[in-house]
């Protein structure tokens, strides 16, 4: 397979999966948020929770729809673009992906219908159950897909047969490969962070316009409370994830930290421009003597550098190095924002704190950026392998010509540009309008929309077209 076809296939996959991951990383957290809101409403019957539920469920419906359709693509793209990988990996991770469909996708898809359209059809408790099941489904989905991906990062529990095919020998070792638990925790927390930052930003935006808006005041406190707790936890989870990388994927660690040389007492590189060809980092700012400390090992432990590995196995060091720094930098900013917010809430000044509200608005999209940066670290850091140490990316690709891949890449770009800018626009419009408590009461039958339907709180617009 020629180089262009591989590059194009990779570009296409990277493009479609980067767009896809935006939605799950938001809807995983949002489904839980909705379950909490509905539970609080059922428990307290305070209008504010119901209004918030009805507001966020509209945004959930939009995002979930985009997540579903961009996800269906993935289940076929494995075959259209990576047929050789599929044939190789299926004996081991095939069941994991099948279980994802069976345990998560059907659950989410079926109960989403009840969640969005069933408010009038089922009782409140059953509706709440549907919301909870959707939320659980999003986590089950994350469980299986991360399990499969972790196995690709560091395959265990399999053997290679004489004819070169793989066979699982220990399913528990396949499902719970060493990097999996910390990565699942890391991704789940990332989803909560992403959602709470968006909820925080949307609420802050409303409070900047009207600081008495009760729904936004409540949601801002919930969001700040969430990211104030989760952001520091994420630092810990990230650190553990990093430890498994050090232990099981030393090459990836060397790329993340731009360790060119194998040595004890690694310096900690802060910023710089890694140069893969020259095997050095230009304009580097580094702190000597603390690299090992940050990795959680003693000073005289030898940490492998890139020079321990053949050059053809090196990933694109600069991309991994910088994506990691963007992720960590944003994570630290989230911790700071959380601390600031908690202090303001404690001092009862948060609704008037213009600076904080603006900062929260500005931080709204940073969860998405951090998630994508983190996935670049994970996936580009695994290159040039699809199954680390077993199957190279160059040997994974389908026997499909450059013409077809480039045509389809172009088509994906055009359709995604239309679909996701429209979706983004509709979500931003909803956020700009904010929760509308006055209209939450369902209008009398005959012209009304069910309170559970995403548009229930919106005024009945003339339906044209």
């Amino acid at each position: 397979m020629d180089f262009d076809a591989i590059l194009l296939a990779r570009l296409q996959f990277a493009f479609t999966i980067a767009f896809h991951i935006i939605f799950p990383s938001f809807t995983i957290g949002l489904a839980s948020f909705l379950a909490v809101l509905e539970g609080l409403w059922l428990g307290t019957r305070r209008e504010v929770f119901r209004n918030l539920y009805l507001f966020w469920v509209k945004i959930f419906a939009l995002s979930f729809g985009m997540g579903v359709v961009s996800g269906v693509v993935m289940s076929y793209e494995l075959g259209t673009n990576w047929s050789e990988f599929s044939k190789m990996a299926a004996p081991v991770i095939g069941p994991l992906l099948a279980f994802e469909v069976l345990t998560a996708f059907f659950l989410e898809a079926s109960f989403l219908g009840v969640m969005l359209f069933g408010w009038k059809k089922v009782g409140p408790k059953l509706h709440f159950t549907a919301t909870v099941l959707v939320a659980i489904g999003t986590f089950i989905s994350a469980f299986w897909i991360l399990s499969a991906n972790s196995w690709m990062q560091h395959p265990t529990g399999y053997e290679m047969l004489a004819d070169g095919t793989l066979r699982a020998t220990d399913w528990m070792a396949v499902i719970f490969s060493p990097t999996f638990p910390s990565r699942l925790a890391h991704m789940s927390l990332a989803a909560f962070l992403t959602t709470s930052l968006v909820v925080g930003a949307a609420s802050a935006w409303q409070l900047l316009k009207d600081r008495t808006q009760p729904e936004s005041r409540m949601a801002l406190r919930m969001a700040v409370g969430m990211f104030a707790i989760v952001a520091p936890l994420q630092l810990v989870a990230g650190h553990y994830s990093g430890e498994t990388v050090r232990e099981h994927q030393p090459l990836k660690l060397a790329a993340i930290e731009a360790y060119w040389k194998t040595r004890a007492d690694q310096p900690q590189s802060l910023v710089g421009i890694p140069d893969r060809d020259a095997a050095k980092t230009h304009y580097e700012i580094e702190i000597p003597g603390i690299g090992n400390l940050i990795q959680g090992v003693s000073k005289d432990t030898v940490l492998q550098g890139l020079d321990s590995f053949p050059r053809e196995d090196w990933p694109v060091v600069g991309l991994v190095y910088w994506s990691f720094r963007i992720m960590v930098g944003l994570g630290l900013a989230m911790i700071a924002l959380g601390a600031w917010g908690v202090w303001l809430i404690w001092r009862r000044r948060v609704d008037d704190a213009g600076g904080f509200l603006w900062a929260t608005v500005a931080m709204g999209p940073t969860g998405f950026i951090a998630v994508i940066a983190g996935w670049i670290v994970a996936e580009v850091g695994r290159q040039p392998w699809t199954i680390y140490g077993v199957l190279r990316t160059a040997d994974s690709v389908s026997p499909v010509g450059v013409g077809q891949i480039s045509a389809s890449l172009l088509a994906f770009m055009i359709i995604y540009a239309i679909v996701f800018s429209a979706g983004g626009l509709y979500i931003l419009r909803l956020i700009a309008r904010g929760p509308a408590p006055a209209l939450a009461e369902p209008p009398p039958d005959g012209e009304g929309r069910a309170p559970g339907s995403p548009l229930a709180a919106a005024p009945a617009e003339p339906r044209e077209v």
């Binding site: 075959g79 599929s86 079926s110 219908g113 699982a168 429209a422 509709y426 077209v465």
Partner: protein, 341 residues
Amino acid sequence: MTLDLPLIWAGLIATAVLLYVLLDGFDLGVGILFPFARSPAERDVMMDSIAPVWDGNETWLVLGGGGLFAAFPLAYGILAPAFYLPLILMLLALILRGVAFEFRLHGRKRGKAFWTFAFAAGSLGATIAQGFVLGGFIQGVTVADGRFAGQPFDWLTPYTLLVAAGLVAGYALLGGCWLMWKTQDQLHGDARRWSAISAAAVGVLLFAVSLATLFVHPRIADRWGFTGEGFDVATFLPHLPIPLLGAAGLGVVAVGLWKRSHGWPFLGGALVFLSGYIGLAVSFFPSIVPYDIDFRTAANADNALGLMLWGIAILLPAILGYTVWVYWIFRGKVSADAGYH
């Protein structure tokens, strides 16, 4: 006792695909009929009738793809590259129609018009793409050394165009019958007319496709008793119930329409699909990549199939159970003020 795992899984995947065709068939069909609605209000009702269930319906497609990957990776690895362009077309079309459910409610004037168009065009495009894949599958796929070895446009022939046209008519029939079942008043009357026209088209196209299929590959003709020497009645007779089932299905549609039944035509449409599906299965078996690779060759490792059988034995009844429950929740007629979006 040892289970014949590849055979069980071939049956399961075939069932998933059949359920997909029947379930997403009617909601794609509603999209195909979208342009013929009288008014925006009618289109709202049409969409409301499928909005709670389309996502679950489409999940059977994911199970079809994911299941093929997991149970018959060799087939997945050959078929997906063989149908690269129609599959991508199908995915893009499904994206457009899938987001249209929500986007159509949020778009203002021009936006709403665009998403109305996108829903119809996406539904039609996905159906045509599936027709190309189906037609290309029946024609057979060129394989060498366990890989697809044909040309990018092998799936585009007069025969596959005919199959695509047949599938459009078939989905339109399912969509029309679904709308008769779920709607009332003027829309119900329109749906009745659409169903009648689609049923006539299905009758003609199904007959044409069946005939053409006999000429596509000698093995299929063989199966149905049309050997080089002539027609072998003894081979044909055991297969006779299959076309009869299709004819009976069309008969149920026709009588149902005549008697102004609301529910029976949908059942008739489903029977037509069932007959076509069984007819194809009989023609291919045991191929999973016609006509070179049978399902045993393509099957995944037995320990993987065994593990998944445990999973599906527990999960499939649950999935079917809550799917039926969701349909039950949303039973009955959708009215203009249904209380959906």
